[in-house]
Symmetry: C2
Subunit: 484 residues, 2 copies
Amino acid sequence: MTDRPSPLGNPEHPLELSAHTMRAMVEQAMARIIPHIESLPDQPAADTSGGEALARSLREPIPQQGQPFETLFDDIFRITRTSFTASGPGYLAYIPGGGLFHAAVADLIADAINRYVGVWAAAPGLAQLEANVIRWFCDMVGYPASAGGFLTSGGSLANLSAVVTARRTHLADDFLRGTIYTSNQVHHSVLKAALLAGFPAGNIRSVPVDEDFRMRLDALADRIAVDRREGYQPFLVVGSAGTTNTGAVDDLTALADIAGRENMWFHADAAYGGFFVLTDRGRQRLAGLERADSLSLDPHKGLFVPYGTGSLLVRDRELLARAHGVSADYMPAIQHHDDDLVDFCEISPELTRPFRGLRVWLPIKMHGIDVFARALDEKLDLSHWITDQLERVDGLEILARPQLTVTAFRVMRPGWSVDEANSATRALLDAVNRRRRVYLTGTMLDERFVIRICVLSFRTHQDRMEMCLEDIVEALGELALESA
Amino acid sequence: MTDRPSPLGNPEHPLELSAHTMRAMVEQAMARIIPHIESLPDQPAADTSGGEALARSLREPIPQQGQPFETLFDDIFRITRTSFTASGPGYLAYIPGGGLFHAAVADLIADAINRYVGVWAAAPGLAQLEANVIRWFCDMVGYPASAGGFLTSGGSLANLSAVVTARRTHLADDFLRGTIYTSNQVHHSVLKAALLAGFPAGNIRSVPVDEDFRMRLDALADRIAVDRREGYQPFLVVGSAGTTNTGAVDDLTALADIAGRENMWFHADAAYGGFFVLTDRGRQRLAGLERADSLSLDPHKGLFVPYGTGSLLVRDRELLARAHGVSADYMPAIQHHDDDLVDFCEISPELTRPFRGLRVWLPIKMHGIDVFARALDEKLDLSHWITDQLERVDGLEILARPQLTVTAFRVMRPGWSVDEANSATRALLDAVNRRRRVYLTGTMLDERFVIRICVLSFRTHQDRMEMCLEDIVEALGELALESA
């Protein structure tokens, strides 16, 4: 330290804020964040009415003049009210995101220090914290010491890198006869990944599922055999470890067997379901996950961190390096001290990117992993509880009991056509969501429209599930009266 | 609001922190962040000594027990000291990152509210803020109303999506004869993007450059003609709008002409250089950028935000949608109210991902864009100033004067071989970096090793450039003495 005055807050360089302004910004942000989080249980689970007008009102050319940050913060929190309350306890839609506040503080720190962790040598300790996170994930799923991986922005890019790694491992440059096998319940990011990685849409085989929405193994084996006879190159099986539609978990052990026998890559999309390996029930359900050649896990789902952190793990990290390696003159020499001091930019598609590790590392270090395991166990309990309750409700039909934490059901009466059931189910979904204590979404199972309940937020507890049940039962009663 | 007690800080649900803990975490984080930022000018520009031992000491199995966050914060800031001080004023290496504190607060807020902006309908106002940022970028570069784009984690994924969009626009499913043209100075992320997108490495044509390190137009035209004769399908020209090696800007107008004539896609990698369009000199230098079919711009470079935000802009956003579109049953219906209410997940590879818009929107709204333009102008001045100074130093040879803000030079004496010059230049680089007031990196220009000075941090001002000059001159003097 010299006795030179603080360089901060120099009016000639306004982008370097004074310590006073930094403190004031954070204080003002917190003065809005804490009431926001405290009121989450009372906020509507979703309210986007007037959203289009709101969005249009916000359009503006690039500002020439600045505005006080307090005004801007007020704007942000006002605008936020018109949205799906994705971080609230009543959000049981799609796959709920998290929103651990720990991660917000981790990002505050990571942004403020702004170190580069893509190359090990640029910040060895910080890169190691991220490497620890990856190693923890590998240990959780039962991967060997040769495994490795990296953090992504989410499941889509993890799946993309998986497809590319499989392609570059199993196929030659001329890969256009390579075929990919998924169940018809697979997440659409896998299809997108295949297209982006260069495969014609026609090379993606959509294998039918059994009554539990799991990939039919006989159909898979048949299709692979047919494709081989026709000169295709089957090279990749993608199993789902928790589908988005119904939470179905494919028979991962059987898929690993088939992939092994056929000399194919086995990727498990465990973006939603993977972290349930932390629980006893989940571990049983996910048996065989450790045999996948690669798998996607989304910390912004099962570890409750805010949106923006997925991961790809690969049993043999050397294959990641081979799939992604390119060198350049201006890059620092890659230092292969040993296999564990990894340059993430060498094994992933990104060079410069955020320091994602800290937002996962900090909450785990603050609580220990058991707290997360217990929270996930609670989600399993809640999901089973509401399914049992719904099963007893006259007029509802459960189409998918939770394999993890998704339930799918519909309104059905004896003698109804599919169309009648679909229409009543859509009406029920709207009536439940209008109550705004929970937000549910639907999907199609074949031609059947169903309502899904996905329990994954760390903020969702028994009280909210009771509200969910009440609202469903009441709304169903109203609909019956209306149609009577 | 009900009179129900705050749900926060319930010991049964430890992941939901109490308001008290949230405030304490932020306070403790700030108590470390502010001194850290205040001391940046006095921190070594890079210090990674002992990095390997540090990294190894940090390895640990997944914790079962939690630790107090104060201890963890102390660890983070201690670990951070062993790194390239990428956010400091003396970091003139690679392409300096930013680190605006505004963005750290924006991420704190974005993480705490954790809304989903990938689909317009889920958070219309917040998605619009991100759409505003994209529109501002389009306006900056002179793109028409039909243009669009999205924010990425950095330039690598922007370039990947550019290659995929060009491929899906210009080539059929069977694209393996498609060829890509770049200068031999292109950023290696473009080569990586091509590989990930399915092109054989041999389909990437490395076109030689002129004495200013710009792609040779005659060589480009010749190579395209040869390839057409040989049955290849030339479909993509990638121009560099600021190379990493020397900051060279290709003749973008001429490349646009050639691409137009040849019915090829023209992508400009403006990740480093693009935001200089905000300045008069930059706009002149980047003439023709607005004619690119797509371009990459990295806000974490030229807009000084922390690592983690790049962008891809495309003249015709409909082509992005066509290149990335896939649908799924559980996705909300895509609402095409009009072309400006965009679902980012439909035009980009990511579905769930962080709300990147806020960290760019907030600093621009707080200051107005002119403050950024002036800061970039300052970087141009600084870069020219030090180049002029170095030119007068006996024993130094400037190999690249700044086209934007990169200077490349080496040690050279009459009669020296290339090897002698390289060895002396490496010695000079080490001697300058040992002083730790600036951190510089080298690169190869053909067989010539050069030292680069890249001025881009919002924290680098005239005083630091004077230190840089002093250190170079002194170090050069010492080396001359040693070899005498």
